[in-house]
């Protein structure tokens, strides 16, 4: 297959950051086209600098390229400056590895960490000359597959994708590859529908066009059901049970271009059972599956050797919760003693143990900032979201942090949570002032800081808050405004408290795309046709364009932007994703939602009895945690001189 490089090259001097389109990253590979019979293009639908470090794409790229006869190359969203030149010069969407046309691959897998990549998917399909509507594609076009967390409700993009994969991708891509290989070898029986039918029958792969959706006159969904035989009523998610069997990425990609994460990441466990009711990641990735301490040590060492990175992030949804995290932190700190790198600790658990871990990992480095995520401002709010931490816990934790030499504490909160009142948000200011008081007391009046970061809450599918009314953006903006005034009104504190937030409008569009159904597809298409793309970038995002597109598309129907976002759903409503099985029992989710409204809390099932969320029985498994009792030996050879270790949180990155 021809390389597009010679056509692309003359355009690159005219665009910003051309290195992102060049490829050739350390540990990337370009396999031979003709000796491969199944060829994947893998896309992260955002700019290279965001997409390259994505662990999901990196893992699948390596898993697929390790297979005989299988080739995988990567492609990312193209910035408007190059997109314009490509359109003028007839250069199609290309992969950065072999600079081959995306349209020539058998499969195009797109990983959606968030719904904000939907418009970028349309740009890529269009630049690739692949019809946007899945039904218009022929055998000449790739099969377009959505994955990632947003694929747990792919209904808003069901017009544009051929199928969606729910859950962990490692084994799923191997299964899909096998189905496609057999179908191609058999002479592509049944055409495009033929391979989609085989994929649907293989399990865990959702083909939207094989399901019909009927609606009630009031706009709600009446029923969703398969429209042909051998298609399951419910599609279940994929779950990799033993992480030690999947030590990927083994050879992490190292870009020349600057990206959002200049470090290597090792995923220390998958899943979370803390039960924070707002957290989709925690709900859909259950059960908890830990990587062993020895498996982690090997991945860290091998990855550092392969990359030359100066930092390792220990990645998971709540890294301090690994059953052997104390031993892991001490073991890695011992191994890599003599570090010349300043370390940060982006972790979120609010307790003194977390500070101990942070101290251990920065044994001989700089202590700059520690991050905690109380999420809710008031005690009542934290009960509603099941984030079980009291104000006194928080104050004691930050006091310990300041005493141990940390100078800056960052606190994450959300605004617009269910049942929230102005006072719940104003309590954040009270808390921030107490944090500063504790810090001044602990340090004897040193120059300390507390940064408050606030995100707008978006109710997500497969969580107890999936029925909740999203808070309108006027209310969110009002609360942020009075909170800022409360923080700034007191001069004794205002210069020590930083305040970071975004306005409420983008959350409403994210809400539309998160809990939308198939009828939202036309809104996405319309907004994209009117120029919308790069929705995660404030300089490209336009609320007005989205709102106008929704108003035009939903004109004279019972549904609207508000209907999808600020409307509370009732128990008996058929939700657009009810036929997609995350393992969670809908009745349990509903009872947990009722519990939330009553302010009741649920414990973590790692340390307390099962509370019947439904995941383990439906998957025939149970949580996989240690301690293994194994230990991490010191390295025989001298380690790389300049390495550090960071705890990292997926949920808030």
């Amino acid at each position: 297959m021809r390389s597009l490089w010679s056509e692309l090259e003359p355009l690159l001097p005219r665009v910003s950051k051309p290195i992102q389109y060049v490829g050739g990253e350390l540990n990337s590979c370009v396999k031979d086209w003709d000796s491969s019979d199944v060829r994947w293009a893998l896309m992260y639908p955002d700019a290279y600098e965001v997409g390259l470090p994505n662990q999901g794409v990196m893992i699948l790229y390596e898993v697929l390229n390790e297979m005989d006869g299988v080739l995988a190359e990567r492609t990312y969203a193209i910035w408007p400056d190059l997109e314009k030149l490509m359109r003028e010069n007839g250069v199609p969407q290309f992969t950065v590895d072999g600079h081959r046309s995306v349209a020539d691959f058998d499969l195009l897998g797109i990983s959606f960490s968030t719904e904000l990549g939907y418009t970028n998917m349309l740009s890529a399909l269009d630049l690739a000359n692949i019809p946007l509507a899945a039904v218009e594609r022929t055998l000449e076009h790739p099969i377009v597959i959505a994955g990632g967390h947003a694929a747990f409700n792919p209904e808003p993009i069901s017009d544009f994708i051929d199928c969606a994969v729910l859950g962990d991708g490692e084994e799923a891509v191997i299964k899909i590859t096998k189905v496609v290989r057999e179908w191609k070898a058999a002479g592509r029986p049944g055409g495009r529908d033929g391979v989609l039918e085989r994929l649907a029958a293989a399990g865990g792969i959702y083909v939207p066009r094989f399901y019909d959706v009927e609606y009630l006159v009031d706009g709600r969904i009446k029923r969703i059901a398969p429209n042909r035989p051998n298609v399951p009523f419910r599609v279940s998610k994929h779950t990799v049970m033993d992480l030690d069997e999947w030590p990927y990425p083994k050879q992490p990609l190292v870009p020349l271009a600057e990206t959002v994460h200049e470090r290597m990441s090792v995923e220390i466990f998958r899943g979370c059972t803390r039960g924070c009711r707002f957290c989709q990641a925690g709900m859909i990735t259950r059960p908890v599956r830990e990587r062993s301490i020895t498996g982690i040590a090997e991945m860290v060492q091998r990855g550092l050797d392969a990359t030359g990175f100066a930092e390792v992030g220990l990645l998971s949804l709540s890294s301090a919760d690994h059953s052997e995290i104390g031993e892991i932190a001490k073991g890695l700190a011992d191994r890599y003693e003599g570090s010349n790198v300043g370390l940060s600790l982006p972790s979120t658990r609010v307790d003194a143990f977390n500070v101990d871990l942070a101290n251990e990992l920065t044994r001989n480095g700089r202590r700059s900032g520690l991050t905690f995520a109380p999420e809710g401002g008031s005690e009542r709010m934290r009960q509603v979201i099941n984030k079980m931490v009291t104000e006194d816990d928080l104050i004691n934790t930050v006091r310990t942090a300041y005493q141990n030499g940390w100078r800056q504490v960052k606190l994450y909160f959300m605004c617009g949570l269910p049942t929230e009142q102005d006072d719940d948000v104003l309590q954040i200011a009270v808390l921030a002032k107490r944090v500063i008081d504790a810090g001044r007391q602990a340090t004897g009046g040193k120059d300390i800081r507390c940064t408050v970061s606030i995100g707008g809450f978006v109710p997500k599918p497969h969580t107890p808050f999936q029925w909740a009314a999203q808070c309108d953006h006027e209310t969110v903006d009002h609360r942020l405004k009075i909170l800022r005034a409360a923080v700034q009104s007191d001069r004794r504190y205002s210069k020590n408290i930083g305040f970071r937030y975004h306005d409420g409008k983008p959350s409403i569009i994210e809400g539309l795309l998160s809990r939308g159904d198939r009828r939202v597809g036309k809104v996405i298409l319309t907004a994209w046709q009117r120029g919308q793309r790069f929705d995660g970038w404030s300089e490209h995002f336009s609320y007005d364009r989205w709102a106008l597109a929704a108003a035009d598309v939903f004109n004279e129907t019972p549904i609207s932007l508000d209907w999808f976002t600020t409307r509370q759903r009732l128990e008996n409503e058929v939700l657009p994703w009810d036929h997609l099985d995350s393992g969670l029992d809908k009745e349990w989710l509903w009872s947990d939602w009722q519990e939330a409204l009553a302010g009741g809390e649920v414990d973590d099932c790692r340390w307390s009895p099962c509370f019947d969320c439904g995941v383990c029985p439906s998957m025939g498994t149970e949580i996989q945690i240690g301690p293994t009792g194994r230990s991490m030996p010191l390295l025989a050879i001298s380690p790389l001189a300049t390495s550090g270790v960071v705890l990292e949180s997926l949920a808030h990155s």
Binding site: R14, K17, I19, G24, A310, N364
Partner: protein, 249 residues
């Protein structure tokens, strides 16, 4: 709070000549320096670190080429806290860098003020869509002027400065492609060579092209492929000579 980690003293300094070739000419200087620091770790080079609370590896760079310009003659210097075999370190580092970012040559630093020795650069510019007569006419038109004002867009708006004064030599290359492959079937193209003094304001290859456009309306039909062929002291006959010579003595 602890005192900063005390760093081991510098015992050896190495000077490298390196190249930025092919696709990797799109590497920016920041990109290169990050890649080089990772290569130092992968190759386990005993690099010295600066002191302080956030120590940095001791690497100094001289006169980086602009993003998108190839080079056969970039220079950097590193400080080591253990004495090593320069050629062995060069080979290990080169292996740890992507192909296209190539360490060509190393010398042990024996003299001070290396950066001051990089007085001028020899540039090669491949102008597409320009024939030899047009190029020679434009060069004559440029060289008769004592000053040619060009404009460059910067962060702080447009900046105007003289591009002519720094040009000490400019001619059409008679001996063909040399280091630059040219597609056989494209439009006509011509290769220029230029000797430009490094200075302030620095006159870059695109400023030279702008000057040719100002004096003779020269406008290549596609982006000009530029390569820095050499960098170093200017000798009496106006040639750029090897800046490593003093270290070799």
């Amino acid at each position: 709070m602890d005192v900063p980690h005390q760093q081991a003293p510098v015992v050896q300094r190495l000077r490298f000549k390196y190249a930025k070739r092919g696709r990797l000419r799109f590497t920016s200087h920041r990109d290169f320096s990050r890649a080089f620091e990772r290569a130092l770790r992968r190759a386990q080079v005993p690099i010295a670190f600066s002191s302080g609370f956030s120590p940095h590896p001791r690497v100094s760079y001289a006169n980086a080429t602009p993003t998108g310009v190839s080079s056969e003659a970039e220079y950097l210097e590193i400080a080591l806290n253990e004495v090593g075999n320069p050629e062995e370190i060069r080979a290990n580092l080169d292996a740890a860098l992507p192909i296209g970012l190539d360490l060509i040559e190393v010398v042990e630093a024996k003299t001070p003020d290396f950066a001051l020795r990089l007085e001028a650069s020899l540039w090669q510019l491949v102008l597409v869509g320009i024939d030899q007569d047009a190029a020679e006419g434009a060069i004559r038109a440029l060289l008769v002027e004592s000053e040619v004002i060009v404009e460059r867009k910067t962060k702080d708006g447009n900046r105007r400065f003289d591009a002519r004064g720094a040009i000490s030599g400019l001619w059409v290359s008679k001996n063909g492609a040399e280091n630059v492959p040219i597609a056989g079937d494209g439009p006509p193209s011509v290769i220029l060579k230029a000797v430009v003094r490094n200075g302030s304001p620095s006159v870059r290859p695109d400023d030279l092209l702008a000057a040719l456009r100002v004096v003779a309306g020269l406008a290549p039909t596609s982006p000009t492929l530029v390569t820095r062929l050499a960098q170093g002291p200017l000798n009496a006959s106006g040639n750029v000579v090897d800046p490593f010579d003093p270290d070799r003595q």
